[in-house]
Symmetry: C2
């Protein structure tokens, strides 16, 4: 067997090929982002020794690059929700998250997440994560103020609002600007550093897992300073190495839908290594085809007053949904072009604050003029806007069910933005597939039998979030931090070997 | 380790746990459907001894249950294509199949399939598969006459026809009625039976693979007469055990989209065991989320003159596509209802010959009346049909690009059928994911490194067909028979161990 074969993440190292152990620890964690950091804190607090191996030269992962909104609620409401006058119910949160995840929902995992969400909020507060008791009213992708709470998904939109009472659950860190991620990871890192039981080895790449003769995970191989090191784990390995958005070959193979995007969101380490390592020891990788892919059309919130049409001049989605849901439905159209149609006033807002990068496709002093300029069949856009405007006056969107608060007749002059995927619009994406785990973080095989000694959390696992069409901001860091904690606790509770 | 754990397809048996060998053969084949039969013939003809293990008490698999249309062409045309006046080009066939497979296309595999398609036709003729040199003009899902050739996909429809010159490639066996599958498997079975090098063991279930210390596949475990038998293979194991459409848990986990269907298409053995066995030894399972799911709205072909609308009264697909493509786009709508709208004459055809099972949702002596009866927003369906009828008179479908031959104004009285998924319409489905293989049939891991000694074909592998929206009848049996042959040849060429 060649050296390359030995260190391929898709081929585990056998214990018989381990000449000597270079490290020993109760728990080894791969990756020091939000999931890995929270896993380490919990494992250490439960009495285990921990080594975190991080390929970068600092902690952070994709969590530090994010806004670090955290999706929490239920149980009568977190402190922030209650202070802002929202009494959240666990069942509403559960119903919403189940609708978001769709047919591939992991009910047990979502149930566990919702029921423990208020406790998770408290745990975060206890480690020092600050949240201000204030509500940000504006529809936003991220909160640029220091407000502690905002709507971050499709809670108020059709069809979600019809089945689950809307409640804001996006918790934003107490910091101005889009700086939640760095602050969150600073706090997590400080918590890790003050625990003597945790060692962090930076600039250290995880290569593959080590299994014993019964196929239990008993360690992993890492590379540091050009040397391969064998790490023995007495309790387990927790894979928190992110997703695979930076691995073009894996994207093509597993999540071809995402090839429509143009900007991968993640850190350079999101190469899928953690997922591959888990698969190599029998872990099931699930939901690998799904990803978050979006057309981030707001801010400005006033874009929500506009309408989206295809090249038949048809609307096809309520424009008050979360941007990822709109993106998902855009990708489903058999249409050469997709347009966002706005009034001139709304376009002014767009020009000032949008980062979507969509070009103007046409303008018109009348709908007919715009229709002609866009090359749409005569009468189609006119009919769509006539119906829409009539619905606005009646306060009910009979066609796409956009909520009444976003219904304002579109009065010419009008502007059409070209938001067709592949024509310049910002189209960010990341993966939503990973290792199948129990709510405890234990990795399971395709029969859902536990792989002894192996845990996964964050994007390396397949968490509570499963689809672009049912995503809300805050679900990723929420899942990373919570699933990291669960895996850390579970690994630390395992009998030492 | 318990007995259950030992015989779990997700856990390979280690050679150290094999006390004695019960069978020895050059090549073992799991499954005696179209793929397994063709694999056995090729392996035997290349000089290998072969045992086929089949869980049922007879050969057949899903191929015998199908119409056994076979998608072939290119290379100037098969004998049947040429006799019917069609000069097919390999590039047109390749372009069409690449469009069908979309972003997850396996270019090398499709290229190989197309370039060797005429040879494959000849091989089938040589083993005795009869094709009549006649063209079936009618648009059909299956050919109920004995004609040898018909259009079986979206070749003549937008957007395919715009990029690849249409040519019929569905080859139908020379037999009346929907009897191609049984005849095909009768011929394949006779060919297997007359080869002394091949043994068939029926009522024998494959349980798991056996690997040596270097993780090479060296055999498999089967169960026969309540006994586990260890089978040693000197050259390899070929998994031809079908897909996983009958495994509800796998469907929910890997292909949740298919839970919208109501009728799994396949044989009871399609439980995914072959795929799981391959995954357990490191094989990559890909395209697992995709499946064929369809609303088989024709026959009668006259349905194609109708239009399909959502609950906004909008058309969204050219109705002259293959039914699987229409089904895929139906599933993409955010719509409470989907209607098929027909004239009374067309409805008469539907009543006589359809097996779709859609109920009448409404009728109208005018479009306005139908619109009202369906509860659609006033003016929406009227506008759609007014535009459509105008386009019909002009001979160009400006909205959805249905081909001119299918454009006839819809003159009231009209009938609307409810084809909403989940409301009674026949919605058959099967899986399109499986083990990643090279064009040779060798199974590869996620890094595309070959798993020594392991091959897969037919639906256990992920073949040339990748999506419902780009399926054509004949691609499954075409792929099964061709990929089976490739795997049989490749295994037989491997040095004996």
């Amino acid at each position: 067997m060649s050296d390359t074969a030995k260190t391929n993440p898709s081929r585990a190292r056998k214990i018989r090929d381990v000449a000597h152990w270079d490290r020993e620890t109760d728990v080894a964690i791969v990756g020091f982002g939000g999931a890995g950091g929270c896993a380490a804190i919990e494992a250490a607090d439960a009495g285990s020794s921990v080594i975190i191996f991080e390929v970068a030269s600092a902690s952070g992962g994709s969590t530090a690059m994010s806004s670090a909104e955290i999706y929490m609620g239920g149980n009568g409401g977190t402190r922030v929700q209650q202070a802002c006058g929202f009494e959240d119910s666990t069942e509403d949160m559960f119903t919403y998250m189940m609708m978001c995840a769709g047919p591939q929902a992991d009910e047990a995992k979502i149930r566990n997440y919702c029921e423990n969400s208020k406790d998770h909020f408290q745990w975060l507060v206890d480690i020092g994560v600050p949240f201000k008791d204030s509500f940000h009213k504006e529809r936003a992708i991220m909160c640029l103020t220091d407000d502690g709470l905002l709507y971050t998904g499709s809670e108020k939109a059709y069809p979600f609002a019809q089945q689950a009472k809307p409640c804001p659950r996006g918790h934003n860190l107490y910091v101005e600007g889009d700086n939640g991620g760095p602050l969150f990871m600073k706090i997590v890192t400080e918590n890790v550093e003050k625990r003597d039981a945790i060692t962090v080895e930076y600039e250290t790449r995880a290569l593959t897992l080590i299994v014993n003769e019964d196929d239990e995970v008993v360690g992993l191989v890492v590379r540091k300073d050009q040397q391969e090191l064998n790490v023995r784990t007495r309790q387990g390995v927790i894979l928190c190495a992110g997703g695979f958005v930076m691995n073009e070959e894996m994207i093509r193979k597993y999540a071809p839908m995402l090839t429509a995007g143009n900007t991968p969101i993640g850190n350079p380490g999101d190469t899928g290594t953690g997922i591959l390592m888990g698969m190599a020891v029998g872990g099931a990788a699930i939901n690998m085809h799904e990803g978050f892919i979006t057309i981030p059309y707001y801010p400005p919130a006033s874009m929500t007053y506009g309408i989206v049409v295809n090249d038949q001049g048809q609307r096809f989605i309520n424009e008050d949904v979360y941007h990822g849901r709109l993106g998902a439905f855009v990708l489903r159209q058999q249409s050469q072009r997709i347009y966002f149609i706005l009034t001139v006033d709304q376009y002014g807002d767009y020009e000032r604050t949008s980062y979507m990068g969509a070009a103007v496709a046409g303008t018109g002093d009348s709908v007919a003029e715009l229709e002609e300029e866009l090359g749409l069949r005569t009468g189609t856009l006119q009919q769509t806007i006539a119906l829409y405007n009539e619905d606005c006056l009646n306060g009910e969107d009979t066609q796409c069910h956009k909520a009444a608060e976003w219904l304002q007749p579109l009065q010419p002059p009008l502007v059409a933005l070209d938001i067709t995927p592949g024509r310049g619009t910002f189209l960010p994406y990341f993966t939503l597939g990973g290792l199948d785990t129990l709510p405890t973080g234990e990795v399971v095989d395709p029969q859902r039998q536990v792989i002894p000694g192996l845990y996964a959390a964050g994007r390396t696992a397949c968490g509570v979030v499963r689809r672009a069409e049912g995503y809300s901001s805050g679900m990723s860091v929420g899942d990373a931090s919570y699933s990291g904690r669960m895996a850390g606790k579970q690994a630390a509770a395992r009998q030492r070997k």
